[in-house]
Subunit: 369 residues, 3 copies
């Protein structure tokens, strides 16, 4: 873990809002240190503009919509969804420079994604895979919370679930998590941490789920497969199955066949994507999707609130950590074995950030003759 510095790439898709948050109304949000205002247009698509009037900088979000155009709340300049000024008060001629920035937007898997960097690079195919969030084979829901910490601290938190034992002891934590071995691997843009716990007592949360959904009480196999995608998305495949029913990794071979053989268990996907707001705040979007008891809306509600409680415990820890890090700007951090996953995540983030830095000038060095 390196010391704190501003470090997020701009050329990436970031979740800006949950789909239901964006209506035919002005909604302000700060993404990657940029103030943005978004609204849903008549055709259903979302427009995202810089939230500062070209004229006197008043946030456009303090104005109002007129059709699919934004009217500034101070002097009435009007902007279309592309950010171009289409009307100025008391004058016929429009200053050709009069526009605000407009951002590429994609709506996918229940999130509105924005690309704060170079629009030419905004390829929709790069949106992270969160398909469980609107896949009919899965049911679930989520929330967004704004956390007062560097978004990377949330990533660290998710990449090492050892903390469940100490932070979430009353729900999903258990000694087994802190003690079980895990495997960390990585690719070019992804890093994975896999932990299997065989033939253990289920923690309170999972014991309740498997009893309710499968009528099973007894020892379970438990898994956590954490997959990070740079810069800030973490999908965690979690669950428990009746001990010895096949959810256990067969001799280390983690093939697709095995992963799909979970019919005696309960399986969830914890979907997380964490958008930097400023250097020390972030918007943390999450959802919990399950592949059992799909029709039970009561369970969806209960799980959403339950996970929200768990994340509030994390929030408390993360905000304290942020304060402590700001108080120790020179602190040299040491890594433990459990930090393997977050170390890889950090490296992949750093690589993206470095790729956006201007190339350093290379000054040829000649030895004195």
């Amino acid at each position: 873990m390196t010391a704190l510095k501003t470090s997020f790439p701009l050329n990436a898709w970031y979740a800006a809002a949950y789909d239901v948050e964006v209506k035919h109304e002005l909604l302000a949000r700060t993404i990657c240190k940029q103030k943005m205002v978004m609204f849903r247009q008549s055709d259903g698509t979302v427009a995202m503009l810089e939230d500062a009037c070209w004229h006197r900088l008043l946030p456009l979000s303090m104005g109002r919509l007129e059709g699919d155009e934004v009217v500034c709340g101070y002097h009435g300049l009007v902007y279309n969804a592309q950010g171009r000024c289409t009307h100025m008060p008391s004058q016929e001629t429009l200053n050709p420079s009069a526009c605000v920035r407009s951002y590429p937007v994609v709506e996918k898997h229940r999130f509105v994604w924005v690309w704060p960097g170079d629009p030419a690079k905004a390829d929709p195919a790069l949106v992270p895979d969160m398909h469980w969030n609107d896949d009919p084979a899965w049911a679930g829901d989520g929330k967004m919370i704004t956390v007062k910490c560097d978004y990377r601290l949330v990533v660290d938190n998710l990449m090492d679930l050892t903390h469940e034992t100490f932070v979430h002891g009353s729900s999903i934590g258990q000694r087994a998590v802190a003690e079980a071995p895990f495997v960390a691997t990585h690719g070019n843009r992804k890093a994975t941490v896999t932990r299997w716990m065989e033939n253990i007592d289920a923690p309170p949360f999972w014991a309740g789920q498997i009893k309710q959904a499968r009528g099973y009480e007894g020892k379970v196999d438990r898994w956590q497969i954490i997959q990070f995608e740079a810069p800030c998305t973490v999908v965690i495949d979690v669950g428990v199955a009746q001990a010895g029913t096949g959810a256990v990794p067969p001799g280390g071979n983690q093939g697709d066949a095995r992963l799909s053989e979970r019919s005696h268990g309960v399986n969830g996907q914890v979907l997380n994507t964490i958008t930097p707001a400023t250097d020390n705040t972030c918007h943390y979007f999450w959802a919990f999707a399950r592949n059992y008891s799909l029709g039970e809306q009561r369970l969806t509600h209960q799980l959403r609130e339950g996970v929200a409680s768990i994340f509030r415990e994390d929030e408390h820890v993360l905000e304290a950590q942020q304060i402590a890090m700001e108080e120790h700007p020179e602190h040299q951090f040491y890594n433990l074995n459990i930090d393997a996953g977050s170390m890889w995540a950090r490296k992949l983030i750093d690589k993206l950030v470095a790729a956006e830095q201007p190339a350093a000038k290379i000054i040829p060095i000649r030895q004195a003759a």
Copy 2:
């Protein structure tokens, strides 16, 4: 509009308080980044001192009055109205340097004015004309609010009433204001913006006034004559009259005769003077005086509260603008036609500020021989 910088002249009269605020009690207020304490003396005049004891800097406003002297609330040093220390605890001899600054004060037109600069230049004749505030031919009242913005943003706001259409749509705003042509002129210390709107529907506020005072319903001529006096006073002559009764400018000639021919209308003077407190806060003193229904105290009360509501809408916009400007310190502002008045106001302010800067050393430039 230039980027934000500290910029108010010190050699000017600034409203420090409404007359009724100043009693035989210590009242603290920050004016032009200087903490001051004021009180009304036995003879009715107001004394204004630096609000920091010479000895240990405790605000004198935390002490108490003894006659017309201030006793510090920590160690009991006593200061007279000229700021000279007249008593020290446990010692007979007074340190000759023991004094706090005292400021020139004038009370006029219901305001207590202070001169934060060179006392030798404090000419009472320079107090801005706000006579409507205690002229028996006019009735009215006002308030003071402390706004979290550079005082010049309030001046900008008042110099362009286009914003009424967008900020005050439910009371005095109407499309006609944003669309009507206006004329901006300026002198050495004053700048004027004049806008006439002929034969229009009155906005809600004025429709009510003219109906109540004159029993008139129908088309009106409406005027706004904004007069700025540097550095921070803006008097706005506003009103409506029965359409075509003479309140209209006769061929561009804005002589006294025409201006006084308003017997079929209702006329108000919006009196504004905005005192810088710090670089990003100001004390905004205003009053609304009218020349109709003079004896109706209920109307005075109603108008004061009505105008207060309108100014709260401005306050919301101005504070947001201040924050946005601080977030964009390098922003290059463009001006629209509607900014003509505030541009002149800014130039007149800048001239006063520049006049107080130490003269730059002139280094003779010699061309190489």
Copy 3:
């Protein structure tokens, strides 16, 4: 009085807590800009550790105790009372550098004292004498308040009781204090201010005490003997006795015999020790012990709350003074006669601070040949 700068020695005992505050629980407190966490061990002694986990800096005070060891609330690292890490999650080998700082602690006279500097110099004999706080010949109690000011402003306040007249006029203040002569003396680490007021009316507080305890009403002799011990402890011997009964200094000779001849009076010890928290906040520990009506618990309660009210008046003044000093960083302070005691206190503090500075390099100066 010099301008504000960080200035407290690290090699000194500072009160960290009242004895009763420290239980078998984690208690966080900032001392001399260092965040510490303390807890009482099974054997009754107090352990004091740096309040930041070696791994990710989470405050250890957010974790929990397991026996006499602290478990971090994030990843479960365990530290013993010496600050050494004894357990890490998911690994057998402990990183040898894994420890947090542990501080020398002494518990004496009802306070838990910590030494933030070099542990090798932490001599328990240097703990300031506050024995009245647990001496059976005295009864009393006290409190701790965190004040938003440089701890030296509290010292200044206590070294000159002239302020009682102006700040505490309704209880212990009276003109006599501001007018009475006083004597200031000093030694190597201590400074003393002695003030005798003979044959005066007692102020409200003391009039009540002597009437209740001794049944006496009438003129009194009053004394205040303020003793400062660097860097931040002030013990004030205060009281009144029946006028002329021997509490008066016999011809300037302040021998022990006289001081103990107070049988016709009431005597209190105001115990104060002020621990710097940051540059502009401090923890002010105080107690009031008396040598009369020892068994009356009601009086102990009443006096503790009464003194607390008096100190709240000081708190208000001190915080305002701190703000004013920060606003005037360049202010040159002048001293009055009454500042003699605090001037000596400041000199003794400065001497301790200077002794901890690295010796300046001495660069030999050679005159040009």
